[in-house]
């Protein structure tokens, strides 16, 4: 892989693309640490330290993860790419409901371009909402409930509006940066930016751990590297089901064996089940926060507060694990529809050697997929639980950097991008006998 990168840097246009991407990433990080005008940066830093020591930071867990810590720093890029992602999901959902959007989607590129335009408008709308809500929180001091310092320099309306505008503009710039990377850089811009934010917190957190105890640092590093290795290995693992297209006569000599197959991944569902499961587990936390303070505690709420809020509680872990397994099967079943695949193969004259087309093929695919997922689902569960278990064992540092979600995102995006670089690189390295 290292040789691939050095080779990539020796190819002029690929080098330009890589440098361009790195430049965008640097810009993006700069905006993520640059405080918004009107923010008292010193007090924010103070409050952040306090929050990290306590467990209040937890509330924003997923959002913090995707914003690379920029959110609580109240920086220009505080909102990160979440508004854009939310907007795309909302629009995708709306295409099912609104006939006009459905019609646009069917019109191919021109229609999709219009939908993208709507997504951008919606992103701006969401950014205005989120930044307003966020600054209101900061102003009332609820952003860091345990911190007594004032994080804003002024309470007046004009500076506050300036901050909202700045953060909204920041979101628009992030959107543009992402599209620039997709167009002129390497990889998918949005994924690269998520990747950047996920790994951006590593250095500071690792240094924190090192300061606490060098021994723990070594343990964390070893566990982290082993986990990354395992994830890379399993993410690449696939069962290849050979497919034969019967239109052509066989018997033509070919090098390299068969290349027509259905690659079924051990982790066919990707990261979505983990995100679903963790989102669902925020619900008990939310309920407890909302109703936990009432004078007459409800029995259910009390039970939730005892068993479902603390991440190191065995019941919490068990529920988390089971939810991941459930969502893995659920997600695989909606993204991979064996009868549809079998029908499509039949239509184009394809079949799996030894298996009849149509229903037997669908049944076979289903059988293989179910058994693969039986391994893939526990894998996702274990990877997600490791940081929580490590937390329980070590008992100390709240921010174990190699969270399951982080590693899955990191490895996923990393692998895709390297594959893309490789594919571009291979196209221009021909040597041969007739030089």
């Amino acid at each position: 892989m290292l040789t691939a990168i050095t080779r990539a840097f020796r190819t002029p246009d690929l080098r330009n693309k890589l440098l361009f991407t790195l430049g965008i990433i640097a810009l993006f990080r700069l905006g993520s640490v640059l405080p918004t005008p009107g923010v008292n940066a010193q007090n924010v830093a103070l409050c952040l330290d306090q929050a990290q020591a306590g467990d209040a930071g937890n509330i924003y867990g997923m959002v913090q993860l995707f914003s690379g810590g920029a959110l609580l720093k109240l920086s220009v890029f505080a909102l990160g790419i979440m508004p854009y992602i939310t907007a795309s999901i909302i629009l995708q959902l709306l295409t099912v409901v609104i006939p006009r959007l459905e019609a646009l989607k069917k019109e191919g590129q021109a229609g999709t371009a219009k939908i993208t335009q709507y997504t951008r408008y919606l992103t701006i709308g969401l950014a205005v909402l989120q930044s307003t809500a966020f600054i209101a929180l900061a102003r009332s001091g609820q952003l860091f409930p345990s911190c007594k310092e004032q994080v804003l320099l002024s309470q007046e309306i004009f500076p506050l509006v300036t901050m909202v505008i700045t953060m909204t503009a920041g979101t628009a710039v992030i959107m543009w940066l992402g599209e620039l990377v997709t167009d002129r850089g390497v990889g998918n811009g949005m994924s690269i930016l998520i990747f950047t934010q996920v790994i951006a917190v590593f250095p500071s957190e690792l240094i924190n751990i090192y300061r606490l105890s060098p021994f723990k640092f070594v343990v964390v590093m070893v566990v982290g590297v082993v986990m990354i290795g395992v994830v890379v290995f399993i993410e690449q693992a696939q069962r290849r089901i050979p497919v034969q297209y019967a239109k052509r006569m066989v018997g033509r000599r070919m090098y390299g064996g068969t290349s027509t197959y259905i690659p079924l991944k051990v982790n066919q569902a990707g990261i979505i089940p983990v995100i679903f499961a963790s989102s669902l587990l925020y619900l008990p936390q939310l309920l407890v926060t909302l109703f936990g303070n009432s004078s007459q505690p409800n029995a259910v709420i009390e039970w939730l507060a005892q068993n479902m809020v603390r991440g190191d509680h065995p019941i919490y872990m068990a529920v988390f694990f089971l939810l991941i397994i459930f969502f893995t099967y659920f997600y695989v079943s909606i993204t991979f529809n064996p009868p549809e695949v079998a029908d499509n193969m039949k239509k184009y004259g394809g079949f799996i050697p030894g298996i009849r087309p149509g229903r037997p093929t669908a049944e076979y695919l289903n059988y293989v997929l179910t058994r693969l997922t039986a391994a893939g689902a526990p894998y996702l569960g274990v990877i997600s639980l490791i940081p929580i278990i490590a937390l329980a064992v070590a008992g100390a540092s709240q921010n174990f950097p190699f969270g399951g979600t982080s590693i899955l995102i990191m490895v996923g995006v990393g692998l895709d991008t390297v594959k893309q670089i490789e594919s571009q690189l291979q196209q221009r390295n021909y040597e041969g006998f007739l030089r």
């Binding site: 099912v96 229609g111 052509r248 290349s259 909606i334 529809n337 009849r356 021909y430 006998f433």
Partner: protein, 760 residues
């Protein structure tokens, strides 16, 4: 306001945005130098400074040349269009504005700069007509022009390509390039190195036909279809043993059918891929191909019928054993099967030229594609006289019967006034049906369906006469304009132009909207040339394929009592369906392009190596370093020259052979690559990741086989015994990329399906 708007459009590089004003200024300046140019004896300057081409003086010279040679004085807009072409843009000029002359002047400009120009036409007839028509212009400027047609011999072709300007149909050009790559002797080469391509009808060549692969196929082994297989499938019955899909394109065995076949053959067929192929081919030949519709049997041979053109395609053959299966079905002797030796897309062909420009009547609509795929910009050249044609809104009907009735009524009433009518149909069958329906009403129509380009050009030129009633397909009579009240070219007769104009000029009726609005505009553009009066209207029904295929789950608003639908939603729906169709076609184009890009690069590289082997001693040097002892030994016995020639033959042979196998591998790979999307992999990346190592393996294989042959071969004997197979056939095919949709599409389709299912 409009100026600001235009400026912003140009800033955003919107199609049609290259500014014409500088060209117009130069063209206007030419008027002042006209008289001076008219006095020159020799129009071509003794020494041509490349910078002179494109100046006002150059424009004046061109104008004078056209006047002397053709008796035509080019308008300012024509000179502006020529200058746009010389800058390497695509010029959009309406029908009848004299595109041929503009193209010829631009070609002459490039030729005067010292470049070799290929004018790419749509068909042989136009290539020949334009070359002969513009010949005097080139002569006046001291240039030569030639043309190539399907019937030209290699000698004629070489002579034509040696001219400064060569006119050729895009397919002929492509086939010449392909055939050249089989030469084993530099003297056999036909096409010189590509320099400038000037594409006529640029939108149809560069966009509509861009993805059509031109295939060079050669005869391989004899076909192996078994007569028993044909006999077996004859016993099967439709519905019980096999089913045919809705589009009539594919046939599958039912489980019952599989049982029957397996019982008859005594094997489990899906364990033996070869047997499945045999059964499927036999079944395909038996059920989907009909004698005297898809093919005819003549002199013991199966000959294909090209259904879109309605004529026998003598050289064409079905691919991959289907030919043999049809022969078995007809109890004929199996002929040899075709093997794809090489293929090139129209787009790949055009990309070979360092300089490309073009002209067409409808370019703005595809401006973005021209920029994406060819890096070309569009310049809109205004007509010399403004267009006054009246384009009426579509007439939409609920059913095909209502549409046809209204269409026939409209033709009948219009025709009664004497106004010339041109009816544009979507395909050959429809034009014949319509002519019959007209005949039943006592109207006789002239039918054109792109079967004979030359004859049809004559007929269509007469379509502007009084009482003329012409029924034509999109393809027919391209490149010929319809003058009101005029006869065909060469028939000088006094026209009744004014009388026809007073009747309203030519009236164009479309029997259905095309898959793209651009094709509609081309049809409309046949009327109202050079400021003539004219009109156009399209008849659409809810049962037209455009609506049933591209907007299947939406229906038209209810019709009025006479069957017509007059609600604005109906027009919106037709426009939507057309946009969906355009989107689908663009997606197919982009996919083909993405998948062929790597292939084109590999081909270019192989051809470059081939060329070096062909013209030099690269082959000999490579073999000398690969097996030095053998080389020395052979040189001693046979002499260096003989060995070098033999080495060239051996390497060329294996290079061609391995390239053919590589192409076969790539097309197999391409066929199943969409399955990778199921494992959340990007099919295009996966394709490239497999294709590149395969290419390397191919080069190694060339070396291995060349060495093997070189070690064994008797270089003193004729090596051409194992000679290369000559091309015998052409055919085209297409594959879809990801029929499953993206992962999100799949999730939402399932959710949407579940929601809708519950509602019902």
């Amino acid at each position: 306001m409009t100026r600001v708007g235009r400026w912003i459009r140009r800033f955003l590089e919107k199609p049609g945005s290259v500014d014409l004003a500088p060209f117009q200024r130069i063209a206007a300046e030419a008027a002042g130098r006209e008289a001076e140019a008219g006095r020159r004896d020799e129009l071509r300057p003794a020494v041509v400074d490349p910078a002179w081409v494109g100046t006002a003086d150059f424009c004046a010279v061109m104008r004078e040349a056209a006047r002397r040679a053709l008796g035509q004085r080019p308008y300012d807009v024509q000179l502006a269009g020529m200058l746009a072409l010389l800058e390497g843009h695509v010029a959009q000029m309406a029908t009848g504005e004299g595109k041929t002359l503009v193209g010829a002047m631009a070609a002459a400009g490039y030729a005067l700069r010292g470049a070799r120009v290929h004018v790419v036409s749509v068909n042989d007839y136009l290539a020949r007509r334009d070359a002969e028509w513009m010949g005097p212009l080139y002569e006046t400027l001291g240039l030569t022009a030639g043309w190539v047609a399907e019937t030209s011999t290699p000698e004629e072709r070489r002579k034509a390509y040696a001219c400064d300007v060569t006119y050729a149909a895009v397919s002929e050009l492509g086939f010449d390039v392909l055939r050249d790559r089989l030469c084993t002797d530099p003297a056999e080469l036909v096409v010189p190195a590509p320099e400038v391509a000037l594409v006529d009808e640029a939108d149809s060549v560069l966009v509509d036909e861009a993805r059509v692969p031109l295939v060079l196929a050669g005869a391989a082994d004899a076909g192996t279809a078994l007569p028993e297989m044909a006999a077996l499938v004859r016993r099967l019955s439709r519905g019980y043993h096999y089913t045919i899909d809705e589009e009539g394109r594919a046939v599958f065995l039912t489980p019952k059918g599989i049982d029957t076949v397996e019982k008859a053959l005594g094997v489990d067929i899906y364990e033996h891929p070869g047997v499945v192929t045999q059964v499927n081919l036999a079944l395909h030949a038996h059920t989907l191909l009909t004698r005297d519709v898809d093919y005819i049997v003549r002199d013991g041979k199966v000959e294909l019928v090209n259904t879109s053109r309605g004529r026998v395609a003598a050289l064409q053959r079905w691919p991959d054993g289907l030919q043999a299966a049809v022969e078995a079905k007809e109890h004929l002797q199996a002929s040899e099967t075709g093997e794809i030796l090489d293929s090139i897309t129209v787009q790949g062909l055009v990309h070979r030229y360092p300089r490309v420009c073009g002209m067409t009547g409808t370019a703005v609509a595809v401006g973005e594609q021209l920029r994406e795929f060819y890096d070309l910009s569009v310049v809109v050249v205004p007509p010399n006289r403004p267009c006054v044609r009246v384009d009426e809104p579509d007439r939409i009907f609920a059913t095909a019967e209502d549409k046809e009735g209204a269409l026939l009524d409209e033709i009948e009433t219009r025709h009664a006034t004497g106004q010339p009518i041109l009816v544009g149909t979507l395909d050959v069958a429809e034009s014949e049906r319509l002519a019959e329906a007209l005949a039943a009403r006592g109207l006789s129509a002239t039918v054109l369906n792109a079967k004979n380009d030359a004859e049809e050009a004559q007929i269509i030129a007469r379509a502007g006469r009084r009482w003329a009633l012409t029924v034509s397909t999109q393809m027919a009579g391209r490149g010929t304009d319809i003058r009101l009240g005029a006869g065909g070219p060469g028939e000088e007769e006094p026209g009744d132009e004014e009388e026809v104009a007073s009747l309203g000029g030519l009236y164009v009726i479309g029997t259905g909207r095309h898959d793209s609005s651009r094709l509609d505009d081309q049809l409309r553009g046949r009327a109202g040339r050079q400021g003539d009066p004219g009109g156009s209207v399209f008849f659409v029904s809810g049962q037209d394929p455009l609506l049933t295929v591209y907007a299947p789950d939406q229906s038209l608003p209810p019709a009025d009592a006479d069957g017509a639908v007059r609600k604005p939603e109906a027009h919106a729906l037709v426009a939507h369906a057309q946009r969906v169709a355009e989107g689908v076609n663009l997606e197919i184009h982009r996919n083909t392009w993405r998948y062929t890009r790597l292939l084109e690069r590999q081909r270019a590289e192989v051809l470059e190596q081939r060329d070096r082997v062909l013209r030099g001693d690269t082959g000999a040097r490579a073999l000398e370093s690969a097996c030095p002892e053998r080389y020395r030994e052979l040189c001693e016995t046979a002499g260096e020259e003989v060995v070098e020639r033999a080495a060239r033959q051996i390497v060329l042979y294996h290079l061609d052979q391995c390239w053919t196998e590589h192409l076969g591998f790539l097309s197999d790979l391409r066929e199943g690559i969409h399955l990778r999307a199921l494992g959340r992999l990007n099919p295009l990346d996966e394709f490239n990741r497999e294709a590149v190592p395969a290419y390397r393996a191919m080069l190694d294989e060339v070396e291995r086989r060349s060495r093997e042959t070189f070690e064994k071969a008797d270089v003193t004997r004729d090596l051409a015994d194992q000679g290369l197979k000559r091309p015998t056939a052409t055919w085209t095919y297409l594959v879809q990329d990801n029929p499953f949709g993206s992962e999100w599409d799949r999730v939402f389709n399932r959710v949407a399906g579940a929601l809708r299912g519950r509602k019902r």
